[in-house]
């Protein structure tokens, strides 16, 4: 099942393309639903119809985003069945329950209350309508919960047992899967980043109106709500990001080392604030990894281990081992993994031959080594290292932009509150151009999460090379381009329809 590199690369590229395009639509829905709910709450509380108009305008924008993004995620499920069939089978029982709940929740909760939200303005009471709007917001976010629980499990597999008779992971502890610390921190960080994106989006569009000197009252009101929401959720995103980094340090230390370009582990390790990686740097050599860098001392030790003096293992330590800090080398893990695979082979053979006692022994042997099973499929220790440059730059772009958005929210909120936002043209332009940056930050976040955990489809248990199906790489290549065209078309449609609505303005409603 060691597939050709070309096939695996195309399968990964296709999945990445689908996921990245899908994620262009999701975060705006996650955050905008809440912003709309807040605006409508103000309308219900004050009875001011201006707030109703404001709410309705952003609802139309939400509808466009929702309609265009709808079902783009389903393609990933197609890909699981075709390009990643081995993986699908092996994880089936883990993924089945969360995804089924997500499907049911998305369908019943969102679609039911969506209808009331859009069609029910004059049909149901104000309070009933407001309840529906809040339930749409909560429902959308809960839908994201289940898929992130599944993703969290891939990053830190818990609550399951591999059944050597069926070759499937079977869930034995739903609570462990659901409350997996990796899944919890991932969910909180992901949804809060969606809130930040939606806030930037609303502020940016409102800034455009102010630049054009139209819809002034509407724009100012929208800015105050979005900047307040963005500021609060940015602070929450900071804490959830800290928790995510802590979880990564505990369960995926290689990813943390790649995020910081840390080749040699150190105590009191710092975070690189700005840095340029040396392309010539190779694992094992003595070269400095950075051509230049600015470091915040002790910050990485604190971020990863909540101690200013903690040792943070580097890529070199994790690949070749570090006795002083009790870090096992990848070679040793590969040895353990090979023993697990051999034991599984023996178990299968003995079962076929009806030798139950020997099969039982082989199974015991398998259980003793299965923790490192995935390493048994690696060809060399260096294969356990992800793309350091891509992970490092994506992580730092995400953090840098997240910091900028926090500053933006503070500035925008301050000038809006003192009623001087219209005079700050530079800030309005900065807010407008922050919209694409918010999407860049989102995509960078996912690149860190997914590229940083390579080569694993399931952390430590199944490398991507073993997860892929044995299909023709040409067919994966064709569908890659098919999706690239389809998604680009959808994106153009969304932007075009949305721009028309924005140009028409809230008065058109």
């Amino acid at each position: 099942m060691e597939h050709a590199t070309e096939l695996i690369d195309w399968s990964r590229a296709q999945f990445a393309l689908t996921a990245l395009y899908h994620w262009l639509f999701v975060p705006l829905t996650l955050g905008l639903t809440f912003i709309i709910a807040i605006m409508e709450t103000i309308y219900v509380k004050t009875g001011d119809v201006w707030w109703k108009k404001t709410t309705q305008f952003w609802m139309t924008i939400l509808a466009i985003n929702f309609a265009i993004g709808l079902a783009t995620g389903i393609i990933m499920e197609f890909e699981f069945g075709t390009n990643w069939s081995n993986y699908s089978w092996i994880v089936g029982d883990i993924f089945g329950a969360p995804l089924a709940i997500e499907g049911l929740m998305a369908f019943f909760m969102e679609s039911t209350f969506f209808a009331v939200m859009f069609f029910g303005w004059d049909k149901v009471s104000k309070k009933m309508h407001l309840t529906s709007t809040w339930l749409v917001a909560i429902g959308s976010n809960l839908s994201a919960l289940w898929i992130l629980v599944a993703n969290g499990w891939m990053q830190h597999p818990v609550g399951m047992t591999f059944n050597p008779d069926t070759a499937r992971n079977e869930m034995h502890d739903f609570a462990a899967v659901f409350f997996n610390p990796n899944a919890v921190s991932k969910f909180l960080h992901t949804i809060s980043s969606g809130y930040v994106l939606a806030s930037v989006f609303v502020i940016g569009i409102s800034a455009w109106y102010l630049i054009k000197r139209r819809e002034v009252r509407f724009a100012k009101r929208s800015i105050i709500v979005a900047a307040s929401f963005g500021l609060i959720t940015s602070l929450f995103m900071l804490t959830s990001g800290d928790e995510s980094a802590f979880e990564v340090a505990q369960n995926q230390p290689m990813k943390l080392a790649a995020m910081e370009g840390l080749y040699r582990g150190e105590e009191r390790a710092g975070i690189i604030a700005i840095g340029l990686l040396d392309k010539e740097k190779e694992l094992g050599d003595e070269k400095e990894p950075f051509l230049f860098s600015l470091e915040i001392p002790n910050a990485l030790s604190f971020l990863g281990y909540h101690s200013l003096n903690a040792f943070v293992p580097g890529i070199h330590d994790l690949v070749y081992g570090n006795e002083k800090h009790h870090i096992m080398s990848i070679s040793d893990k590969m040895q353990e993994g090979k023993l697990a695979v051999s034991a599984l082979t023996a178990y299968k053979t003995y079962k076929k031959e009806g030798k139950e006692a020997k099969a039982k022994e082989a199974l015991k042997d398998f259980r003793a080594h299965e923790k490192y099973m995935g390493y048994g499929y690696l060809k060399k220790p260096e294969d356990a290292v992800p793309n350091v440059a891509l992970t490092f730059y994506s992580f730092h772009t995400m953090v840098g932009l997240g910091t900028w958005f926090l500053i933006l929210f503070i500035l925008v909120l301050y000038f809006a509150m003192i009623n001087e936002i219209e005079k700050k043209r530079w800030l309005l332009y900065a807010a407008l151009w922050s919209i694409p940056l918010a999407y860049v930050a989102q995509e960078c976040g996912w690149i860190v999460a997914e590229v940083g955990r390579q080569p694993w489809a399931i952390q430590d248990l199944l490398p991507v090379g073993m997860a892929a199906s044995n299909v023709a790489s040409s067919s994966v290549m064709i569908t890659f381009w098919l999706f690239a065209v389809l998604f680009t078309g959808l994106l153009i449609a969304e932007v075009k329809i949305m721009l028309t609505q924005i140009k028409n303005g809230p008065e058109a409603h």
Partner: protein, 71 residues
């Protein structure tokens, strides 16, 4: 019965009075057709379901894949 009637009118009147919504529904319909009829049917068969009839056969195949380099 009254409630059912209200629900019916919520959807009926809502769809009838849509402006931008009609364009969006058309887009959704085209997209779902492309995804489920063309893409899924032609390009994305479920490999294990098309290759094998039973779960037992699928398990055997995957186990073979996981262990074949060791046999």
């Amino acid at each position: 019965m009254h409630l059912l009637n209200e629900i019916y009118h919520l959807y009926y009147d809502g769809f009838k009075s849509m402006k931008i919504g009609k364009k969006l529904w058309l887009l959704i319909a085209i997209k779902l057709f492309i995804l489920f009829v063309i893409v899924k049917w032609i390009f994305f068969p479920n490999i294990l379901k098309t290759k094998f009839d039973t779960d037992a056969q699928r398990s055997t195949y995957i186990l073979e894949q996981l262990t074949k380099n060791k046999e």
